[in-house]
Amino acid sequence: MALVMNGRLRSIRRVSGLRQIRLMMHVGVLVAVALVTLVPLVLLVLNSFNEAPLGKPFAWGIKGWGQAFHAPQTLNALKFSFLLSTRTFLGLLAAFLISWLLVRVRIPGHSFIEFSLWIAWFLPPLSVTIGWMTLLDPHYGLINQALKTISPFPVGMNIYSFAGIMWVHLSLLTVPVMTILLTPAFRQMDASFEESARSCGSGPLKTLRRIVLPLLWPSVLVVTIAGLIRSLEAFEIEQLIGIPAGIYVYGTRIYDLVRWDPPLYGQAMALSTIFLGALGLLIVLYQILIRYGEFATIRSAGMSFRPSLIGKWRYLASGFLFAWVAIGIYLPLGMVLLGSFMKFFGMFHIDQPFTLKHWVSVISDPTFENALGNSLLLGFGVATIGVVLYSLLGIFMIRARYFGTSLLHFMVWIPWAIPGILLGLSLLWLFLSVPVVKFFYGTLFVLIFALILKDMPLGAQMIRAAFLQVGGELEQASRVVGAGSFTTFRRITMPLVAPMLVSVFILVFMSSVRDISTPILLAFPSTTPLSVLMLERSVAGEIEKASVIGVILSGLAIVTALIMRRLGFRFGAGAV
């Protein structure tokens, strides 16, 4: 229908026809997201009750469950997974204090410390773990050797231990990630709450406990749950320093079961199902808290923010944190770099300990060349396709008006909470057993698919947040002055969200290149990326070669962190 107005032809749309198209699109997206997020998990749970080997028709039974609980390693894995997850609470305590020191007290050097935490977050955990092995191996670890020479008593620290795993996790992952998640909450809180408490005569620590903590409580809870879920993600650190000590976690146990000949899929899936159940509870809790947290967040009215001072203590705190990042992050990182140039890892006392031969042999190795190519293809493939898909999904999540919107949000969150090894296992089964997709098994496409799925929650949420910020009045203003939807998108929306798209691209690229747990069950020798090659080399005892790859991946991570800082990028607590 058209009618003439102001001497121009104006088209008028029929409301009902458009609604039908929208509704069909809506259902289509819901089904597609459910297919990629829910179906693999359902397959996983279902197949824990399957007694038939792969490729044979489904045979109902509970053999997998029975065997899983008879194996002492499984019980061992459950026990240690649980015990190791308690680090979340230790990490929270540290992260809360550090965030406060960085944002509120503004201790000297706060921006360097914050940036170091970012680097820790970007670094491939495996390369730093290798660094710790050089330092704290009971026989040839540098620190242990030094202790032996200066101490009259037999003292030493063993990295292959429960405490070792805790330490590497806390210093490298738990505390940095939680701090990065908590600092935005501190930044958003209006300083006047604290200032009025101070004026009432309450000291800085009392203010922290009585005013700041209760105000930030919702964010703290959300970050705790997020940390707890993330801590179950663990794989490569335990694989490298847990197995020698006989410490299994469920991730390394599943990896073990799948590599058995023939693979014990039933047991692996039974064990996975238990963890899915635990994660399911945590996810529900998390979703509830996030919703509650949105109402409770206190945003500062203006940009007014003044750091609170705690006198001389600031220097002490600053010194402590500098020492902590130096020992926890830069020391092991330096060791990996050093180790990659050593004839024998950790052997400083031999003649001419340094050599370039590992670099030469790794770089001239066709396996390395192949893995580098795979990693680059993987990184660019996942980031490029991912940003397009996440953008569509993010926009859709904003525009969705019909039923199932909260279900959609929930489904999009799922891959975030699913540890890479579980995601890999469920997709492995999918690509092995479902007729049409079977064709892709053994190709790089499987890895790209898995990693796009893995990064979907973060990517889609970040892009959604960007569109939300830009959307609304800035877009509406363009419509009102006469621009159509396409012009508005091209001239207003795109230029404004472009920086965020670049950020997501870089983050997804880095996380795909670095990830080990997701691709490890899905990679073929011909499709092995650098990260998995690094694990294979270190498990095979070729620590020097693993170090070379570790240095390359760490270099990439540091460049990424620098670019992100240049882009002035910061996460909100809701984004991760």
Binding site: M5, I12, E473, Q476, A477, S478, R479, V480, G482, A483
Partner: protein
């Protein structure tokens, strides 16, 4: 405003709800060519939603909007002209000037999407920027402009394509008091100069009164009264309108009849005679409303049985150029300007004479 003028905008029984909350409830009004029309009401009364419905940013659940005689929205007939085809201007409360474009680019954008040629775009954009006082700031980005300048930029962007109707959503609420007065005067001058029709949304009654030819007072999604500022102030249709537009002092009392004269008995024994024709039965609780300027203060308690209400001065404050006194009388407490001839002190008894009162059923 001449009623014989041409109707530019006609809104009929517009209705919009979100879930179970009714935001706009059967709103109808007309706006004439060249008129300055305000929607006045407290926050959440539906005035901004009405404006968004006019702009085409929301679809009504029912009702009709006609612009220049053409139906642009009709829920019944499934007609909805999209925002970009309405040729209406809208200045957002947040201004919504695009941060990635310079002032010039912001203003040129509407002309570009209308495919004006380069020279004419430049000429027109610069002319409009100059008319709002932004000449010389063409290359600044919004972040480099002050709040007042951003507001002018948003206005320039809406005026540059000479829309049939300009919608303003609380455009002065984000600037400080002094600037607000200046911008208000400028806005009125501009409207008189170019003769554009404006629908203005505000919660500030003095702003609405000073600017508008006519205004509609809204409450809970409904229009309570439409009229010229004097009409709305002097002959309010409802208690809400009287209370929202201008200052008001109220007394709670009981309606009775005393020697064939209807009076309101107030706490403290005094009573006020009221006009006939009130549709409230005797014995009912009522609220007597008085404008401060309709109340005279006299020193001293006055004799019993005399006209007026007795009260006590609670506090006297110098507010620059004049004194204000807080008075308690007949169960109410309020602040009045102290006449220069009186020298009242704290604790002193006074008599208040009510020249003009309105009686409303007690809520």
């Amino acid at each position: 405003m001449k009623t014989s003028a041409e109707v530019l905008l006609r809104v009929e029984r517009l209705y919009r709800r979100y879930g179970s909350a009714v935001a706009v409830d059967e709103v109808s009004f007309e706006v004439f060519q060249g008129e300055f029309f305000s929607l006045l009401g407290p926050s959440g009364c539906g005035k901004s939603t009405t404006l968004r419905l006019l702009a085409g940013l929301e679809e009504p659940d029912s009702g009709e909007i006609c612009l220049k005689g053409d139906v642009i929205v009709s829920a019944r007939d499934g007609i909805f002209v999209s925002a970009e085809q309405r040729h209406i201007g809208l200045v957002f409360q947040s201004y919504a000037v695009w941060p990635h474009m310079t002032a010039f680019q912001n203003v040129a954008y509407p002309l570009e999407v209308r495919r004006w040629n380069r020279q004419e775009t430049r000429r027109k954009a610069e002319q409009v920027l100059e008319s709002v006082g932004l000449a010389g700031l063409e290359d600044r980005r919004p972040a480099e402009l002050s709040g007042g300048q951003q507001q002018r930029l948003a206005l320039a962007r809406s005026l540059v394509y000479e829309p049939d109707l300009l919608l303003l959503d609380e455009p002065l609420s984000n600037v400080d008091a002094k600037l607000r007065e200046q911008l208000r005067i400028e806005l009125k001058k501009l409207q008189q100069k170019i003769g554009i029709t404006i629908v203005y949304v505000t919660h500030d009654q003095s702003e609405a009164m000073a600017l508008s030819h006519r205004l509609a007072v809204m409450n809970r999604g409904r229009i309570e009264q439409i009229g010229r500022p004097e009409e709305v102030y002097k002959a309010p249709g409802t208690f809400f309108v009287q209370n929202f537009v201008g200052r008001l002092i109220t007394f709670e009392g009981r309606l009775t009849e005393r020697s064939s004269q209807r009076v309101v008995e107030l706490p403290g024994g005094r009573s006020i005679a009221i006009r006939d024709g009130l549709a409230i039965a005797n014995g009912g609780q009522v609220c007597v409303a008085v404008r401060p300027e309709d109340m005279e203060i006299e020193a001293g308690a006055g004799e019993p049985g005399a006209q007026g209400i007795s009260g006590t001065v609670q506090d006297v404050a110098y507010v620059g150029g004049r004194y204000e006194c807080a008075i308690q009388a007949a169960g109410s407490e309020f602040v009045l300007d102290m006449p220069a001839s009186l020298r009242l002190a704290k604790g002193q008894a006074v008599t208040l004479r009510l020249k003009e009162t309105t009686v409303w059923p007690s809520s």
